[in-house]
Amino acid sequence: MKPSDVRVILNKYEEDRGGLISILEDIQAKYSYLPHDALKIVSEETGRSLVDIYGVATFYKAFSLSPRGKHLISVCMGTACHVRGAPQIAEEFERQLGIQSGGTTTDREFTLETVNCLGACALGPIVVVDGHYFSKVSTTKVKQILKNAKDRLDKISIEKDRRIFPVEVSCVRCNHSLMDPNFLVDGCPSIKVIVSFENKHGWLLLSSLYGSYKVSSEFDIPTNTIINFFCPHCNAELSSATACTACGAPMVPMIVKGGGMVQICSRHGCRSHMLDLNGINF
């Protein structure tokens, strides 16, 4: 760890030294954990006591004080995934990797953790590897997931995707279809969701053509606003733990009929999206 690197991060927050969590997030993003010395520098530079910073760093599960592996595997242990056998899946990961959950393999390839509900219960049991969702995981799939993670996940570049085909999606919480056959966008049934931003609340219709960005909405949405998406059936918020690789906004997950998951960026105007079809990535 180089002290100058930490100082560069700190300089970014020159004006807003109150944003301790953002500072720690940036440090964690750089080193994949929070090195002891980095916390000391943060303490010196921001004038906050080390014990407060340490308290915050240990409070949030997102922060780790020991080095993490290259790939982060999160096994969902939420209620819905639990009853569908998530504990066995976590065990299988533990066995294959030879580590306990919360641990990191000695070659620093994988870190395994369990989380509580990723908000995609209908697709459970869910395993997320580096932001990619694997749905309906069974113990037999574990090996494949590890292999995929090792060779491919980090190589996908989504921006280049130009394929166009219609997808049919449903809510990650209640599994109700989000398709609206009465309203066509791009000549295909549209995807209807409820959105809210800046005190406004209304419907939004998305094109179901994968690769098309046409939307129609009750309001004019200014570009660059981050919108919250909700399911019109169960009113659950559609939001995943993954951040957009392009702009950092939270991603919005939806189930793709036939198995798999599509995630779109919640920032209006950002074109980033991810498609995981049963773990196979496009």
């Binding site: 006591s49 014990v51 308290g55 240990t58 409070f59 004080l65």
Partner: protein, 225 residues
Amino acid sequence: MINLTINGLDVSVEEGSTLLEAAQYLGFPIPTLCHMEGLSPYGACRLCVVEIGEGEKSKLVSSCTYPAEEGLKVRTASARVVRARKMIIELLLASCPQSKTIQDLASKLEVRQQRFRQEHEDCILCGLCVRMCEEQMMAKAIGFRGRGEKRSIGTPFDIKSDVCRFCGGCIYVCPACQLRCTYNEPEKAICGGCANLSPPCVEIDRFNDMMCYMDPCVACEIEKD
């Protein structure tokens, strides 16, 4: 000045004072554990609960953190309050049975037994030491770490803190590590003998090994009930 009623008595207190201060001003006793003059109120132990409001809307609040409000009706010893306090002290006893401070509070609330699985955890996370270190000793060497059942108090990274001067202030205020009473069997340490309730007995022999080092001893009184 703010006017409120405590146990039916009208009282006016300065703006910004807490319910605990108001009640103490009138002389109503409220047990406290994590409250200490000179340290900011923290509201960790909940022993100081009082009932505010009336009828349906009444609720329990911790008096050491609740600011006095105009027209508020406060009860410091209603049945609900007493029940809550007894439960809280039982739970505290379950986690830290050997603290003399907790035992004394328990016997004052007439709790002589606790029904939960006994743990011998020492820290009850009252935060007195953390506040002492920061507010009186100006050091900020220790603090809370982790969360949920893993929450603990200590120095960052569990190594000696650069800012700690070994003043001992934290140990001085700790209700769990000062004055340990272990009776002769720690499990039953809630003898209450130290609550100084009645004059010492003469039959020292009979109660010798029950006797607390605090006198007077009331072991005989306890045996009766």
